[in-house]
């Protein structure tokens, strides 16, 4: 499959959304709204829920299921208030020792006038810094589009997973083509060059695993079948979260923060070894 096909799949409006994951993987969800600083940003959706009986904080980007919801959710493009709301929920999770599970699906943070005025840069950098020190397990799943700092702003996790057809990139392929080649129509080429598929990111060492989407799109005959098919995806997501939580439960509070810090401090160390190329030649 070409990279651009994955991009289009990742953007498919019929893909399961954060609301679907919460309904199908968690129970007893209690939504928490607002950044407590003056606004509720609907493009970040989250709250407390049970995962196999364990309280967790779950949050993520919300795009909405139809046009009116899309508008309310600003198509999943948060402003500073969204990131501050996410941070509030995460700090609270830390207080009550709840693991944090985030779902990433965004075209990016909102590039708007008010977003700049109220500090979108500061909101994102604040999240990156604060997430690196959280003393509870943090797990991120990129379910659709993971685009730019808007995705990363809730994705500084101990474990990062991607769905097979999700993408995760520095910018949208359109933006990339427009910046480098001054032609946003070259998005197909850009998608290829950017190496933004789950397989690419696993190879780069940026993510920890890929959640298979095999067998979930076939034979969507009627509504019941559709539910059935997606239920396979939900059970895979469930399993991945359970495995990750089990692994992370072995770490103490300080170790969890250290583990996350080390992960982001050294993910690119293979590219920084001065003698790497010399050694390759010897092999």
């Amino acid at each position: 499959m070409k990279a651009i096909d994955r991009v289009l799949k990742a953007r498919d409006k019929d893909r399961p959304k954060i609301t679907d994951y919460i309904d199908n993987v968690f129970t007893d969800f209690f939504e928490q709204k607002g950044d407590l600083l003056g606004k509720d940003d609907a493009s970040i959706y989250g709250g407390i829920a049970l995962f196999h009986g364990q309280p967790v904080t779950v949050l993520g980007h919300r795009k909405g299921n139809d046009v009116s919801e899309n508008v309310i959710c600003n198509f999943g493009m948060p402003g500073p208030e969204g990131y501050r709301k996410a941070l509030r929920l995460m700090k609270q999770a830390e207080k009550f020792n709840r693991p944090i599970i985030t779902f990433v699906d965004t075209p990016g943070a909102y590039p708007g006038l008010e977003a700049e005025m109220y500090g979108i840069s500061q909101a994102i950098s604040g999240n990156l810094a604060a997430m690196s020190t959280l003393k509870v397990p943090v797990i991120t799943i990129v379910t659709g589009e993971g685009s730019s700092g808007g995705a990363l702003g809730i994705a500084v996790a101990n474990k990062v997973y991607m769905l097979e057809n999700a993408v995760y990139s520095v910018l949208s392929p359109e933006g990339f083509a427009s910046i480098l080649w001054h032609d946003s129509a070259k998005r197909d080429e850009a998608a290829e060059a950017m190496k933004l598929t789950a397989a690419d990111l696993l190879e780069f060492g940026v993510i920890d695993g890929i959640i298979s989407e095999r067998g979930i799109e076939l034979s969507v005959v009627n509504e019941t079948d559709e539910v059935k098919n997606y239920s396979r995806l939900y059970s895979r997501v469930d399993k991945q979260i359970a495995t990750a939580l089990k692994e992370l439960s072995k770490l103490g509070a300080e170790e969890l923060a250290k583990d996350r810090f080390n992960k982001f401090r050294s993910f690119d160390e293979a590219y920084l070894k001065v003698d790497a190329s010399a050694r390759m030649e010897n092999v």
Partner: protein, 256 residues
């Protein structure tokens, strides 16, 4: 009176600037003949003869195997004398020791790739190990597109290291210079204990052109400029270039 040759050169440099930084098309400014670069900054800020450059060694990186990227960097290394868009070292400012990091936009708009992010981190770690304040002069077009996702991840890497330094009691002063945008603006540039900005510096997450396209209207005068940030409470002070050294020395003194 400028000679004809100089006039031509100025014109050529001006076009080159605009190519590198199209956002300036929105608000053209008259540029000096020679752009103020990282070496000028170090001369102006550090007490004379005190700057000791860190000798970090980096291999050639091209993680996406992006066509022409290595050649472009090699060409710029010849032009600027830097290995990437950043130089770092320790120095004294008004007698106070500090780690100083300067980004140089002549090098691919000082976009952040692995090497730049790592230089920020290692400088910060040096400051932490030696109990020195850290001063970063930011300037950047954002993420280094040619390094893809690894460039994006530098945001998390630099933010985590800066946060660790600050938690350990380190003083971090960010000086925002024109322009500081994108991934740099949304990571270490906006994490300062103290944030200064140069007058009229463009600082923001999205570029003005992108915002105008998104909202379908012209941006107000002065939008995303240093004074605008000051008004909205995101910088401690807007400081003129000629006053920066004294201001920094004073802040260092207050934390000594």
């Amino acid at each position: 009176m400028t000679s004809i040759v100089d006039q031509r050169k100025n014109k050529f440099n001006r076009y080159k600037d605009l190519r590198n930084n199209p956002t300036e098309l929105l608000e053209p400014v008259i540029k000096p003949v020679k752009e103020y670069d990282a070496a000028d900054r170090i001369n102006d800020i550090c007490d004379s003869g005190t700057f000791e450059r860190f000798e970090f060694e980096f291999p050639e990186t091209n993680p996406l195997e992006f066509e022409g990227y290595v050649e472009k960097k090699q060409e710029l290394r010849g032009e600027t004398g830097w290995h990437d868009a950043i130089i770092a070292g320790s120095c004294k400012i008004g007698g106070y020791k500090a780690v100083v990091v300067v980004m140089d936009k002549r090098f691919m708009m000082a976009s952040m790739g692995i090497e730049l992010g790592e230089t920020v981190c290692r400088s910060c770690e040096y400051a932490m190990n030696h109990h020195l304040p850290l001063i970063i002069f930011t300037a950047s077009g954002g993420a280094r597109m040619q390094e893809g996702i690894l460039s994006l991840m530098q945001m998390a890497k630099t933010s985590a290291v800066i946060e660790k330094f600050k938690e350990a009691g380190g003083l971090y002063i960010a000086v925002l210079t024109h322009p500081t945008t994108g991934g740099v603006s949304a990571s270490f540039a906006t994490l300062g204990d103290i944030t200064l900005a140069e007058p009229n510096a463009l600082v923001g997450f999205a570029g003005p052109r992108v915002i105008e396209q998104t909202i379908g209207q012209k941006l107000p005068q002065g939008f995303q400029r240093a004074e605008f940030l000051e008004e909205h409470g995101f910088v401690d002070a807007v400081v003129k270039r000629e006053d920066l050294k004294d201001t920094l020395a004073k802040i260092l003194m207050l934390h000594h």
